[in-house]
């Protein structure tokens, strides 16, 4: 037993079925002019949707085209830009040097003049 039938009294079932049949008959018996108007109305509703979807497709296509043009223009510019890609590496290198310099290294750099003088001395003198 369907939910609809359960909701109805058993006594109603017979005439309700008749009522449904009569209503079906009335819908099936619509004249040609009315059916034609319904058909046009349905087509109009679907055409409105198609137009909107076509508009969306062209919009997305235009968006893709714009993105492609942008990327095509960006890649050569990116490759040719003077030192464009070197900057981050340089920045990283400087940071590495600064990080590597500790207090001991500062003493080493201060003694550089001594090592240069030592290097300049004649090795034979030291024997």
């Amino acid at each position: 037993m369907s939910e609809t039938e359960r909701d109805m009294h058993a006594a109603d079932a017979a005439w309700v079925a008749d009522a449904r049949a009569l209503l079906d008959e009335s819908a099936a018996g619509l004249d040609a002019a009315t059916l034609s108007r319904l058909n046009r109305a349905r087509q109009a509703a679907l055409a409105g949707r198609s137009t909107r979807m076509r508009g969306l497709w062209w919009l997305s296509a235009a968006g893709l085209a714009a993105t492609a043009v942008f990327l095509v223009a960006l890649v050569p510019w990116h490759a040719r830009a003077p030192g464009a890609s070197a900057l981050p590496a340089e920045a990283d290198g400087t940071a590495a040097i600064v990080d590597a310099v500790t207090a001991d290294d500062i003493e080493f750099f201060e003694d550089l003049e001594f090592y240069a003088w030592l290097d300049a001395q004649d090795p034979e003198i030291d024997g």
Binding site: E3, D12, R20, D24, S26, A27, L35, L38
Partner: protein, 207 residues
Amino acid sequence: MTSTIGGAVCATFSTNCLTGSMPASLNADRANSHALDEFLRTVERRALRMAELAAIPRDEALDLVQDAMLGFVRHYAGKPPAEWPPLFYRVVDNRLNDWHRRQNVRARWIDRFRAASDDGPDDARGMLLESSDPGPLRRLAGNEAGQALESALIALPRRQRQAFLLRVWEGLDGAGTAAAMRCSEGSVKTHLSRALAALRRALKEHE
């Protein structure tokens, strides 16, 4: 990386453009349009009859159904097809409410003008609400049952008539009818029960 993505985008775009093919989503949309067409084809006649049983003249009922189809397609075409029937009849129900609201406002103004001018025996309000079209049931030769049913349905309160038509004729379940009528399932049962009792009484009078 950038050029790879750019290349992929260009390749996809050029493939679509050169072959003239549309994206898969658009093909799916075509299938959806076909399903929509089929669905509207199955409900349009019943929607028209529902409008007529709400005492709306044929021409206006056709406009109402067209408006309902447009509204349904605009707002609910993207929903799963299983959800379409209650959503479509919800739109129809809204349009029926709007129509009756407009008629009531118009009738009130006509009553005011009539009271002010008092220039004729015609009942303008009655003329507005009464359809000159006898309707398909009444056109059936010698079909008294059909005429009786149509009269009884037109005489029902709007909510009771909708509950009866959606549950009995359209075959929506309780939840679907409640969704279409924007009320609880309990209310649907109450409306349906009263509609059945009123129709039974009215049809007995015709026996």
